[in-house]
Symmetry: C2
Subunit: 297 residues, 2 copies
């Protein structure tokens, strides 16, 4: 049964119109259509707003009132995706965590290459700190947003800003040089991503920076001082090794890190929670992890 | 508070008489005294018996009756430790998992080098299968016993024997060549293990075999087909990289694998659950993992 679900998701991705490396404006439209194709549940309230100077979309579940908040960084290879189109996945997670989400419209490449996205993520967290105890905040991100969560934490720590209670990253893209082993070993089973597509977007984002800079590629960062971290990935993705290397770097640096690998599922399989048992289970685990860490010193 | 607990455990290990590489019979006595120093709770029932031709100790908690059983492989660098002296840790885990344990007295090196321990582990599992559905069995082991759990699963799969419901390994020793990065990078913070001590016992166990044989060193094994696997390790151990490499190999091979790294704690910190909050929390998580997987197809 769940094998049928996995096949359906893989087939949808394999035959679908999304091509990360394709013409930028076309692909931006395709991704937003994909993500907003499923209507939101009636109890999800999405509200546009600001954190400091940064555009955000707040995601609330009707009837859920909590002091705790997730600052969310969406995916899209640093060049695609919007806070508004992330609302479905954010709401699915917020419902489980029992908190509210704030999804950040960080600037995209190539119009705004590195460090624009990082600057916006840092600025939005610092603005949130003006009203919220850091122990009441978690950082969550998926794909490029997962790499950006890690870079943001490293940048915040270097600035002496208090860490949030925890962080969760789904299928992080944390190596813009694409040096992971699974870029090759998983290329035959990954229905969503290609090295060529990622390479195009990496060039857009890195611009004139050094792709091995730890703030560009968190696999090269010293992760000392990061808060408890949950990393989830599927085994059918060419970015699997990014997740594994982030976890190894976190463990070496004495971070309380948990890794959950789900076999036979693709990049950011949590986005398919409505039709994939494993996606719902991963979101359940992520919600539980977030709940367990809010309010801890 | 928990930092005080961590310091106390590290100090106890650093100043204690255990020296893995020391004179064998003396160190066997020291380890057994360490492990049996704390009296067992009154409701723990340990019974000597057999699984096929293999000596075992059954561990039951009074009042707990379950169809599910954990086959347990103790630690001790393949040369030390006994099923009887593992009862305290096994009982701490069985209480949480709500099942009974069977700890295996596999033969020890150097008297019985590889593949004696592996043969005994395989034989005990196959004997247990005569009375028990594999979906009602989990394999658990710590340190060398963790490496042995992984080798046992690989050997069972090669023999076409049905896999158990799940497996849990604490601080697995899975590389008898000691090639992990943390052998060096964590030597200053590991209060329990030294590369020299492990090297002595590796020579005892490997004997005339190849230390890179996947059945000797599971970091080199193809882990395809293994059941859901939980790996726990502390960040203050020279064997940390064994845990990380096992998890990477499992993920690459499409195993449903979960890794939990606890910072600032030593090798098999779960054994200190009575005086270390992190040890109790890790056993809680392991018990929950075992419960969640029993009975699954």
């Amino acid at each position: 049964m769940t094998d049928d679900q996995k096949r359906a998701v893989a087939e949808m991705l394999r035959t679908g119109p999304l091509d990360l490396g394709g013409e930028l404006h076309e692909q931006r439209r395709v991704l937003v259509e994909m993500l907003t194709g499923i209507p939101l549940p009636d109890d999800v309230i999405a509200t546009s707003g600001h954190l400091g100077d940064i555009d955000v979309v707040s995601v609330d579940i009707a009837g859920v009132s909590a002091d705790d908040v997730v600052l969310y960084l969406h995916g899209g290879a640093y060049a695609l995706g919007t806070a508004a189109s992330s609302v479905g996945l954010v709401a699915d997670l917020m419902r489980r965590a029992g908190v509210r989400g704030v999804s950040v419209d960080y600037r995209l490449a190539p119009e705004s290459p590195y460090p624009a996205a990082l600057d916006d993520a840092v600025a939005s967290y610092e603005a949130l700190l003006e009203s919220t105890d850091p122990r009441r905040i978690a950082l969550v991100g998926e794909s490029a947003g997962g790499g950006l969560v890690l870079a943001t934490l490293v940048a915040l720590r270097a600035r002496g800003v208090p860490m949030p209670a925890s962080a969760v990253v789904f299928s992080p893209w944390a190596d813009l040089t694409l040096s992971g082993r699974t870029i090759h070993t998983k290329s035959g089973v990954d229905p969503a991503l290609t090295a060529a597509g990622l390479r195009t977007r990496a060039a857009d984002y890195v611009g004139s920076a050094d792709p091995t800079d730890p703030l560009v590629s968190a696999v090269h960062a010293d992760l000392t001082g990061l808060p408890p971290l949950l990393v989830q990935a599927g085994s059918d993705e060419i970015l699997l090794d990014d997740a594994l290397r982030v976890v190894a770097a976190a463990a070496m640096a004495d971070v309380a890190v948990t890794l959950q690998i789900t076999p036979g599922v693709p990049h950011v399989f949590q986005a398919f929670a409505a039709i994939l048992t494993e996606g719902a289970a991963a979101l359940d685990a992520a919600g539980e992890f977030l709940r367990a860490h809010f309010g801890k010193p």
